[in-house]
Symmetry: C2
Subunit: 144 residues, 2 copies
DNA sequence: CTTGATGCAAATGGTTTGCATGTTT
DNA sequence: AAACATGCAAACCATTTGCATCAAG
């Protein structure tokens, strides 16, 4: 499901296109997020992993980098419950279902929420913007 | 839309039924949440309001009370973005849409997400539990 | 060389906790 | 009286920020 053929260089190029600098820290963050596939990582997760290779890269830099990458549209944010915020590649992934038991993530196709959006619009005049919506529940394996 | 005929005494009775004590602080919190109707209040919002009548009730007590009431199923939690967590009556309100512009809340009928749940179940074996889901977007008035 | 990114340490802000005391049952 | 809730101050923890230094364009 995460077999997008995206490479680190694609992401770096994209970053440059948005007028952002491609620094060591940013490459490292992108590389780890790319390597993580569907797994969602917190800022601290990322810092720990990155520091195996680049001990000098500071947690605060990771936070600032994550902000920059989010702003650039390369990565997206997901929150759930009390857990710290997590990040993942934004490439055409729009909604998630998150297993509250094992933490597994299911990426939903971009249109999955369209019927709901239409209904909200029609019945309540409400323009839903569910780009970063995470739906809690229990995944197939955990359901037994 | 918040014209549920629920009274403070209903809530207090419910609380007692769950084996919890009906203290001044808990009554005060329930009263404010009830008075707030569809508005979502943070712990600090509630503390400020409560302290107008009961200056001695401490913010930490409000937090502990909110935990207790949530545990008892009387109130429910909603999160959005970076904002602090907010609380509202749990009585048969299951999903929300929240205007990111003005903060207005739209309560969706309990079945509003059923089609989505069915699809997730059928296509991914995923049992969604969207009890506390809050859908961001822009409400009718703010859309112009 | 100029602008923006980084490391570090310190600050922030929402939330939680330990403990002695007060209140509910 | 026993069990539990509360007030207060202090701790926590994820995240942010100020500032001097460093690296990318």
């Amino acid at each position: 499901m995460s077999a997008t053929g995206i490479t680190l260089e694609d992401l770096v190029a994209e970053l440059r296109d948005r007028g952002q600098r491609a620094t060591t820290a940013r490459r490292a963050v992108l590389a780890e997020i790319l390597a993580a596939g569907d797994t969602h990582l917190s800022a601290e997760d990322l810092a720990r992993r990155i520091q195996r290779q680049h001990p000098a890269i500071h947690l605060s830099t990771v936070y600032r980098t994550l902000d920059a990458l989010t702003e650039a549209g390369l990565i997206a944010v997901a929150r759930f419950r009390d857990q710290p915020v997590t990040y993942h590649l934004a490439v055409d992934v729009h909604h998630h279902a998150l297993c509250t038991n094992c933490g597994a993530t299911i990426n939903l196709p971009p249109g999955a929420l369209d019927p709901l959006r239409r209904r909200l619009r029609r019945d309540h005049g409400f323009r839903a913007d569910p780009r970063h919506l995470t739906i809690p529940g229990v995944c197939e394996r955990c359901a037994r």
